[in-house]
Symmetry: C2
């Protein structure tokens, strides 16, 4: 693991690293914000999973999260959204919603994707182990959140690892990827044509099948262009209701799918995670 950059920010450090990722068979970059508290103690860690087309840097420059992370004493780790590099296969037409920038936080089973696109293992195992080994975090205090494709990643990763994450939240998540064009395209490519294999990566399916969830918070803009066709927050609300899961899922009038929406509510999300992460 090699430090690529370090920049002072809100009395902490915005850091960027690169490392060879075994699960992805390539060199990956990730960003970490360390709050001032990390100078003297191990701090809780919050994983941010970004959406389609993003790298590790969009969140870092646009979300305005550092202020709140500094306030609450939480580290934020922001990984990239797919394997990267000249040797990594990409969508043949360079589509934005499959291949590079669109790993969908699954372990691909179909060649050629299966040799590289194992983002689930990377986010759940490899990256946290690396972070715990090299950075002043308290690996026993982890939470996860994300946006759009990364909201899907955060929800499914929390659902598939009960007891591991203290809390989970999402902005405009893809709630039911097996039932929307983005998810159908990605899952067909990465997981094959058998739709039963897809259900293990669908938050609504997992909840309906009885998977447990830590405290959940979701915000969804009502003016989000992707809401009706791709995101389906209503199905998440219904699935939680059917299982008696108390979740804080809010529609926000006039807000869209952008980082301006994320920035507007990122403080509330970090405060939500901080409460869960600081509980004994």
């Amino acid at each position: 693991m090699e430090k690529v950059s370090e920049v002072r920010c809100f009395d902490g450090w915005q850091l960027r690293y690169k490392h060879r990722a075994a699960s992805l068979n390539c060199v990956m970059h990730f960003s970490v914000y360390l709050p001032p508290h990390a100078e003297t103690q191990r701090v809780p860690v919050l994983y941010w999973l970004s959406g389609l087309t993003c790298t590790d840097e969009n969140f870092v420059t646009k979300a305005g999260a550092q202020r709140y992370a500094a306030e609450h004493g939480i580290a934020i780790v922001a990984p990239d959204t797919s394997p990267r590099g000249d040797n990594v296969p990409d969508d043949p037409e360079g589509a934005y919603d499959f291949g590079l920038g669109a790993g969908f936080y699954v372990n691909a089973t179909q060649p050629p994707w299966s040799s590289y696109y194992r983002m689930y293992d990377y986010i759940v195992d490899e990256l946290p182990a690396l972070v715990a080994e090299h950075l002043p975090v308290d690996a026993g205090r982890e939470s996860v959140f994300g946006h759009s494709m990364g909201g899907h990643g955060a929800l499914t990763i929390a659902l598939k690892n009960p007891g591991r994450f203290r809390s989970v939240s999402a902005f405009a998540p893809i709630c039911a990827p097996t039932q929307c064009p983005w998810g159908e395209k990605a899952f067909t490519g990465y997981l094959g044509n058998n739709r039963e294999d897809w259900q293990a990566y669908d938050a609504v399916e997992l909840i309906t099948a009885g998977a447990r969830l830590p405290p959940l918070k979701v915000d969804q803009g009502r003016s989000d262009n992707f809401l009706a066709e791709q995101l389906h927050a209503d199905r998440l609300i219904q699935a939680c209701k059917a299982k008696g899961i108390a979740a804080d899922i809010q529609y926000r009038d006039d807000y869209d799918h952008s980082y301006f929406f994320i920035a507007s509510f990122i403080g509330e999300h970090i405060a939500f995670h901080s409460a869960a992460l600081s509980a004994q």
Copy 2:
């Protein structure tokens, strides 16, 4: 004036407009954040002047200012940093520090620049008149701030228009452009070889010559790569001291020249301007 985009942000609106700018002989874009208060009343207005290579959008996406503008009920107008368009002359070698993206907030006197590069007139007269005509701002309550080249712009515009701006602040401003490579190159190109003509756009020279200043706040990172050669905060401190001007000019350990530095202190700057703008 045509609206290009509007995005909900912190319960206000992040807006972008384009218009034909007479002073610059081209079509210009600018961004405006309107806080929630602007739905029902005219709000004070703060002009942000960006640094080299920026457009109107860098500040909008990276500074995290909207949160504080929403809190204090202030509109922030962010113009571009030079005239734009295929017909606008640029540095023959496409240098980042002259021509497009590098207007230096002066009125050029040398051809071919003088037909387009009149950023001083644009910022001081044309843009505020347009904003006052079309947007719910209280034009009698204006302040100005900026970064690097835009910090130079904010300081000199405040100094050259005594009584107009309620307050002025800057992040890592070019304090004495007549005495640094960036300023020498730009002023030679825009204003010609007579160094006496440059002094009207040099904050340290203007202060030394007795120009008045509204309340002033400056932050300067000590790890800023441009500090020693280009920025010269010490000369601003000395010039203020020599004239008995009480200014809040702070060095910040470890901070660099980036928007991470700006984001870290933008809240304090907006609070500073808010106090001046809300005074009766």
